[in-house]
């Protein structure tokens, strides 16, 4: 892998916990790799599985999806619904041969600034080693004459 | 080099945008390519497919008259993905245009005849092209009557032109709004278009009727005109089928043995009678 490959990481995070946690990372001056593009959503319960699929289709090499720990959801049950959805979707994607190791699911609270930085660094390094997700990104041009 | 790509649109620059009514806009489009502008010609009644690049194509009539050179106009309501894409455009932006497609209103056969235009809402644009075409050749036609209605005063399109037609001595404009759609200053009639036509009781003698509007307007107006003595061959309308290619291939507008994009969109009531009621 040429060392010039810089993975694109898309992060879908919930507004109340992980986004705040990431904010704390910044105010605590904790460094983390800049490959991540953070998308703020009201709750993990709002994160539709198609958002992940679109991220891959539009060039993401890795995805982080993170929100409040169970029992901390601002909307009480958003993360519980998300968890069930992720359990089904992750199995389905794996069954279809999609590289689910490129997707990292996590709970990061508003107080876990350090965990956020660690998560991003670890995911970025892992995906950099894996290389670009070209087989997915080529789909849009496969089967078109 | 293979043949020409019949799906390739002309690039058009938006020269002007007029807000006609809530969600209804008129674009004045000019060809980006001078040679295309020069070569372009159309006749009233023809339509085109307009591209909002990134969203797709939509079918509208060419709302301007062929007598007005150097530009074409189209009027559309924002109802779907493409029209929403078009509605985001500003003056100076580029859109696409494929056409002119379809057949024409045979105005050269109507010399010396009275013309009766009956339309509603945003069905005025296809007839507006004919109206201005005839007004620019005014002496070729006898009386010109226009019955135009809309849900409310604000829903009337081409408001400035309606005033102009109202003031012209050689045009008899009857404007109406649906009951409840009038405003205090409204001086026109109040009532549904078919009712107003019934009150007007236009004479069928030496008269061509052009009717265009939503299915309900067509359903009520056509039998009325027949009752008033209008021959089925002298009542014209233009159909609004779902279209994608505009060149008689994709199959969408196929109604009976007719492809509305090639054999239409202009039909006489008599011709419509030979088509199955699938439009």
């Amino acid at each position: 892998m040429t060392d010039t490959f810089e993975p694109k990481i898309t992060a879908f995070v919930c507004n109340w916990c992980t986004y705040a946690g990431a904010d704390l990372t910044g105010t605590s001056r904790i460094k983390y790799q800049s490959n991540v593009r953070v998308l703020r959503l009201p709750c993990t319960g709002r994160i539709d599985f198609m958002l992940l699929a679109k991220a891959f289709a539009r060039g993401a090499d890795g995805i982080i999806i993170s929100g409040c720990h169970p029992n901390d959801c601002h909307y009480t049950s958003g993360n519980y619904h998300a968890r069930r959805r992720w359990m089904v979707y992750r199995n389905l994607m794996d069954f279809m041969g999609i590289d689910v190791e490129r997707i990292t699911f996590s709970w990061v609270s508003a107080a876990e600034g350090a965990k956020w930085a660690e998560l991003v660094n670890e995911v970025t390094t892992g995906i950099r080693a894996k290389g670009p997700y070209t087989e997915y990104q080529e789909l849009a041009h496969t089967g078109v004459e | 080099m293979s043949e020409a790509n019949i799906y390739l649109p002309h690039l058009m620059r938006i020269a002007a945008i007029t807000e006609e009514a809530p969600g209804v806009r008129t674009f004045r489009l000019e060809f980006v390519d001078a040679a295309a502008a020069e070569a372009f010609a159309f006749r009233t009644g023809q339509f085109g497919l307009y591209s909002a690049f990134g969203d797709g194509e939509s079918t509208f009539c060419i709302a301007s008259s062929p007598t007005r050179k150097g530009y074409i106009e189209c009027t559309f309501r924002e109802v779907g993905r493409v029209t929403a894409g078009l509605a985001d455009k500003e003056v100076g932006d580029i859109v696409g245009f494929r056409g002119p497609y379809g057949n024409v209103f045979p105005i050269d056969q109507w010399q010396g005849k009275n013309l009766l235009f009956i339309t509603g809402g945003i069905a005025l644009p296809p007839l507006r092209s004919v109206i201005w075409n005839c007004l620019d050749l005014r002496d070729q036609f006898k009386d010109i009557t226009i019955v135009y209605g809309a849900r409310s005063v604000n829903d009337l399109v081409y408001k400035a032109e309606l005033k102009e037609w109202e003031q012209r001595p050689d045009v008899n404009l009857v404007c109406t709004v649906d009951p409840g759609g009038e405003t205090p200053e409204w001086t026109g009639k109040v009532g549904f278009v078919p009712l107003i036509v019934e009150q007007l009781a236009p004479s069928p003698d030496n008269t061509i009727a052009l009717v265009c509007g939503p299915p309900i307007l067509i359903k009520l107006t056509m039998p009325l005109l027949r009752k008033l003595g209008f021959g089925a061959e002298s009542i014209f309308t233009t159909l609004e089928n779902r279209m994608k290619c505009g060149v008689g291939k994709c199959g969408r507008c196929n109604t009976g043995k007719s492809y509305v994009c090639k054999d239409g969109p202009v039909y006489t009531l008599e011709q419509l009678g030979q088509l199955p009621a699938e439009y």
Binding site: M50, A53, H81, R90, N91, L92, M96, G97, A140 | -
Partner: protein, 266 residues
């Protein structure tokens, strides 16, 4: 009383306006058929080959306009009817399921409870062909599974036979039919196919009664039913419920338990 006599009786008495079952079609193979008059009752057949899920017709407007319907109820039809009841699409009195016992005699299952009890007797086995394919897939690496599904889905032409033959795909306006936004590309290129089958399977998770009709309807033989089975298997294994088991089932993905177990969230 056998199916033909029961159908004749129900139609003559006007208890139902149509009996949905099977009739011999091309090469004598059974195909869905509506007996709408006592005279048509004799056409109905049952037994091997009558394995399409007739419940896919029950939610359609033209069929509802026929009036009250009796339907030949194989286990997969009963599961689909119960799931449609659980999703409040039909009620007990809308459809009269006619199950057949071992001797081919009709058992009327007029209530959801009767249907549930009857179902408990006969679970649907996974076909040997599916079993072999699932085992083969189970032994594959991720890259091999990707290649397998990309190969299979490359034949998809998006005729939507899988969607049209599914009893649970009754939506008036399917996600595929929406273009604001155009979530899934309409053309059947590799991305459009992958995303369509991904959305279809996810929308059937916890709802698919594993009848396999989507797979058998596919004109190019893609085992798409294995995708919805996978989603349904996860729901059964992780959340302990199975679609079509009862008329009072909650939708698995809109309910939860605080202690749902998973092993991948950090």
């Amino acid at each position: 009383m056998d199916l033909n006599e029961k159908a004749k009786q129900l139609l003559e008495a006007g208890t139902v306006q149509a009996v949905l079952g099977f009739e011999p079609g091309t090469h004598g193979a059974p195909r869905p058929a509506f007996a709408r008059g006592a005279d048509q009752a004799a056409r109905l057949v049952s037994g091997p080959g009558c394995d399409q899920n007739l419940a896919s017709y029950v939610t359609r407007a033209p069929v509802k306009r026929l009036g009250k319907l009796a339907v030949l109820a194989t286990p997969k039809v009963l599961r689909a009817l119960l799931q449609l009841m659980a999703e409040r699409q039909i009620q007990e009195q809308d459809v009269l399921p006619l199950a057949l016992d071992a001797a081919g005699q009709v058992v009327e299952l007029a209530t959801a409870q009767a249907m549930e009890e009857h179902l408990a007797l006969e679970p649907d086995p996974v076909s040997t062909q599916d079993r072999e394919l699932l085992d083969r897939l189970g032994r594959m690496t991720r890259a091999e599974r990707w290649a397998f599904w990309q190969g299979e889905l490359s034949r998809c032409v998006k005729c939507y036979a899988c969607r049209s033959s599914c009893p649970m795909c009754y939506c008036e306006h399917c996600t595929m039919d929406c273009n604001r936004p155009q979530w899934v590309p309409v053309p059947s290129h590799a991305l459009g196919n992958l995303e369509y089958h991904m959305v279809r399977s996810m929308h059937l998770a916890g709802r698919c009664v594993q009848c396999g009709d989507c797979g058998s309807a596919c004109p190019v033989g893609i085992p798409v039913h294995l995708l919805t089975f996978n989603a349904e298997q996860t729901v059964h294994a992780q959340f302990g419920q199975r679609a079509g088991a009862s008329a009072k089932l909650d939708y698995a993905l809109s309910t939860f338990r605080p202690d749902d177990k998973e092993n991948f969230i950090r």
